[in-house]
Every structure is written in C-alpha cells, then in structure tokens.
C-alpha cells in the first residue's frame, strides 16, 4: 500500500508574512488562516509538490535545523493543515 502523500494544490494559496505569524489566504474557500511555525515551513515545502511524510521530514531536515525530528509531531502538524483544508492527503 502506497504511503499517503500530502500537497498544497498549485496556485491555491496566497501567503503573506506577518511578523511572527504567516497569513494564508486559501483561494478555493475564501478562508484566511493564521499560521505559526512550523506550519508555514511545512506548507512552503508542500506548495505544488506532493510528498510523503517521510520525504517531507527529509526536506525539512535539509532546509532547517530540526530541534525534534519527531514523525508523530510532524503527522500532527500535517493533520492540522489537512483539517484546515490547506493541504490535501492522497
């Protein structure tokens, strides 16, 4: 069975940094979301690119100095983004 892949559909998001937070306007729903780290970083990695949680962890580890490379924590953050409708799981 193939692992779940996550992605923010290309062109669906309008992103603006607001000091410590990031505002994301989701075009398909018209909803605005305020994201705190690490959600914006995860979203940036998945913007238009589908990948598994394992692959995402690798990408984040390359881009950032991960304080806790915890797959459970990453899964929880992914669930939040899926629940908000910002990314899709397939």
């Amino acid at each position: 069975m193939a692992a779940t892949r996550y992605q923010a559909p290309p062109g669906s998001l309008l992103v603006r940094a607001l000091d410590d937070l990031t505002a994301v306007y989701h075009r398909p729903s018209g909803a605005t979301h305020l994201l705190a780290s690490p959600a914006p970083e995860i979203l940036a990695a998945l913007d238009g690119v589908a990948m598994t949680a394992d692959a995402l962890m690798l990408v984040l580890a390359v881009r950032y100095d991960l304080a806790d490379a915890d797959p459970v924590a990453l899964a929880a953050r992914l669930d939040e983004l899926v629940a908000a409708g910002l990314i899709v799981a397939a």
């Binding site: 398909p28 729903s29 018209g30 909803a31 605005t32 979301h33 305020l34 994201l35 705190a36 780290s37 690490p38 959600a39 970083e41 984040l60 881009r63 950032y64 100095d65 991960l66 304080a67 806790d68 490379a69 915890d70 459970v72 924590a73 990453l74 929880a76 953050r77 939040e80 983004l81 629940a83 908000a84 910002l86």
Partner: protein, 145 residues
Amino acid sequence: MNDDDAIEPQHDGPLPVDAAPTAAATRRRALMLGAAGAASVLSIRPALAQATGSVLMCDIPVPDAGHAGGFIAADGAVVAAGTKGAFAPPSRPLKGEDVRRAMQGGGVLPGYDYDRSRAYLKYVSRLQRGTAGFTCFASIQMLRK
C-alpha cells in the same frame, strides 16, 4: 556535514549586539515540529462563508435603493420606469436562497416567469461591490463552488 557546528556568525552585516552567542551559532534556522502542543493553525472564516443558514437569509433588493422604481431590462440593466421590454421590479427584495436555487438549477425565481427571472438574475450577477445585495450575491457565489 562539517559545518553543522560552525560557531562563526554567517552574516556579512553586524549581528545585533544583544544576540545570544548560541542563537547566532546555527547556520540554518531552527524549526520545532512539536511546538508545545499549541495549535499552529488558526482559521478565520469570512462572514460571507459562515453558516449556510445565515447566508441564505440574505436579501437582494432589485434594483438597489439608488435606482428605486427603475425597471430591469432583459440584460439586467436598470432602465427608466415604463421602458418597453423591461420588467417592473419585484415587489420585495429577492431572497438569497431563491437566487441561489435559480442560478444553480437554471430555473426560475418563485413567483416569476422565465423572462422576468432571467432579467432579475442578470441584474444580480452584474452587482458590483458596494451595491446593496452584493455581499449576498458574493455569498451565493461562494456556496456554488
């Protein structure tokens, strides 16, 4: 990976004088995946997209107050009262729910014939921001997606 523990500042410019030495030490930005259990996503739904019920309760005056008494031409334009081929305005504002159903199903507005419904719906679809009924129409558009 021999630069992971680099301790020299990586910036060309001066560092803030109060920067802690340990904070300045890392080359890449630190990221914490499990941020103390706090939710990292706060969603703000626009009033437009709130409960379906409130959206459908909205009204669209036809025409808006600024053109009260005007007739509605077949293409949705507001024209002078009595213009031939144009329709007298509805006696009461259109209900958002009725407009949504008519636009979705290509049907007619309750109580009006096909041509009249079409003229009214064209008027609605031409509404601009700032015109009475625009917010209601925008809500309907959002629900249709």
